[in-house]
């Protein structure tokens, strides 16, 4: 049972890490905490669902489409909404993303109702048995998929022209602008990529979880915790924190009380915040 819990915790943690990485990218570059991240995950999951429903193809094949869809959506969110309020107080930007998340989530609720739906992929029924551990193949796909996506993201940031520009803007927006980078456009790219990673996560989540309008909520919230624990702007730290949280949640659910597992993780987060307010790997980000 322990090894199964460990494997499942790893799968959950990998997805937390991926959603958190997207959130961290947006935060690191645009300096806005995207409270709509969970809603974006939900949007992606529904996109996967409708893709599978309408085309009859395997949900995993929707990956490029869903990633592109969320990327474009994120691009326009930044372009149309957040770029306009950059000069305002940061909390009002935060409330905007919060409101946006509410609109998306409740829009889905109004459109499609609270019914639980599900998608089946070709490996949905397969279970991998490794020694004592029993793990669903879709969870294994989630682990490797999330790892690949985070790797891809890091590669993109380190080795492409746009990625370099994104890092430049993250470090010094003013100097970046002086060297000819269109900062606002880079903001839009960063938000687009942050949203696209949630699309990637959504494709991995869809076959595992029931699809309903609140499916993204827990991932969105966990993404924050991941980001805060891993250090704002620290992608590698977020990945470790994600896996840690996933393991903590699954082990607590297995051995103590499945109903209280999420509460346990939040409480753990509060305790860590109490001891180390800047997160496990974070540097202090102070005012002025």
């Amino acid at each position: 049972m322990f090894w199964s819990a460990l494997a499942n915790g790893l799968a959950l943690g990998a997805i937390y890490a991926l959603v958190g990485a997207g959130l961290n990218l947006i935060f690191g570059v645009v300096k806005v905490i995207n409270f709509a991240q969970g809603a974006l995950v939900m949007m992606g999951v529904y996109a996967v669902y409708w893709f599978a429903e309408l085309t009859g193809m395997d949900p995993y094949l929707s990956l490029p489409l869903v990633v592109l869809f969320l990327g474009v959506f994120g691009y326009f969110v930044q372009l149309g909404i957040i770029n306009r309020v950059l000069t305002q107080e940061r909390t009002s930007q935060l409330l905007i993303t919060f409101g946006l998340g509410m609109v998306i989530e409740n829009g889905a609720l109004a459109l499609w109702g609270p019914n639980h739906r599900s998608v089946l992929t070709f490996i949905s029924d397969d279970i991998l048995i490794l020694g004592d551990a029993r793990i669903r193949l879709v969870s294994v796909v989630a682990i490797f998929g999330a790892a690949a996506a985070v790797g891809l993201l890091l590669w993109f940031l380190d080795f492409t022209r746009v990625g370099t520009a994104i890092r430049a803007v993250a470090q010094q927006p003013d100097s970046a602008e002086l060297s000819g980078i269109n900062v606002k456009r880079i903001y839009s790219y960063a938000f687009a990529m942050g949203a696209a990673t949630t699309g990637f996560a959504a494709v991995l989540i869809a076959p595992i979880y029931d699809i309903q309008p609140l499916v993204g909520e827990v991932f969105g919230v966990m993404a924050f915790i991941v980001v805060v624990l891993g250090g704002l702007g620290n992608v590698a730290g977020a990945a470790i924190a994600g896996v840690f949280l996933g393991l903590a949640q699954t082990l607590f659910a297995t051995y103590v009380d499945p109903q209280m597992a999420v509460a346990f993780v939040f409480a753990l987060f509060l305790v860590i915040l109490f001891i180390r307010p800047t997160g496990i790997f974070g540097r202090a980000l102070r005012v002025a």
């Binding site: 905007i96 829009g107 109903q259 209280m260 999420v262 509460a263 980000l285 002025a288």
Partner: protein
Amino acid sequence: MKINKTKSPSSSLRSPGFSGAGWRIHLAVAVVLLGLIALPFVPEMKFYYLQVIILIFWFAILGTAWGISGGYGGQHSVGNAAFVGLGAYSSTLLFVNYGISPWIGLFVGVALAAVFALVIGYPVFRFGLRGDYFTLASVAFGLVAFEIGQGAAWLTGGSQGVPISYVDDPLMFQFADRRWFYFIAMALWLITLFVSYRIRRSRFGFQILAVRDDEAAASRGGVSVLRTKLTAFVITAMLTAAAGTFYAQFFLFIDPGAVMHLSLSVQIIVIAALGGMGSFMGATLGALVLVPVSQVLASEFAGIPGLDLLLYGLILVLIMMYMPYGLLGTLRKKPKWRNIIGW
């Protein structure tokens, strides 16, 4: 009444406030208050209308309370529903399990809320971490409270909620004549308004504004940033918990979805933001606009869940984009109005 006798900054720092508003405003306020008191005695008054007004009072209390730390202090808490739940569950569980009067439970809830506000606020405010951290921690706190409400069924009754049995006894915070609730809500609302108004005009009020606008400068000016933020947050939490107890006694039923859900925390913010979070009157105005609208939406579109929250989200986005100072914020440029609304 000569309001702008002098224009020197020292005297304009502490403006004459509401007492210098002029007799027209005073008369208007008196008429409105008398009208509110007389309203339940109008013959054939449907209790439904009173209930809507009670909800307006209730949300106005929550929004005004939120505004003390969120508006004056700039510490935007997205977890205030946890305090509502704390108030509601404290009094209810004490009453249901031990028969302790909810009047006493109210103070227990208020005290617990103060303790929790300290526990959450202290680690976050201690190091002068950026405001985002506080918002994140408040979200996490709200979610912990909700999950405990849902999951710890042995304590809270879980998602089934807790019904409160009716005993006809005013000492048990229950009344045969439900108009009493109207007056209690109104009293609580007036108390909250008064607290908010007095704070804004006190020394502490100026300190908290200073901390909001520039922490480093306020700290150099001898203001204890930590203590100021904590005090504001504790006051917010206490008033919010009191409103929670009221909710439980009024509806005689509580469940985590109603009193602790994240959407309630957001509703509180939307109401404060719509009215204008810098003024003690802002949340009341916001509640006056939003509560009837959401009542109508909820009854007109009862078949479509989520529509009212969708609207709240949309309003939040639009206000923050185009009117970040809220409805009352449009008045704050005029010195006379600025006095009255206490911006």
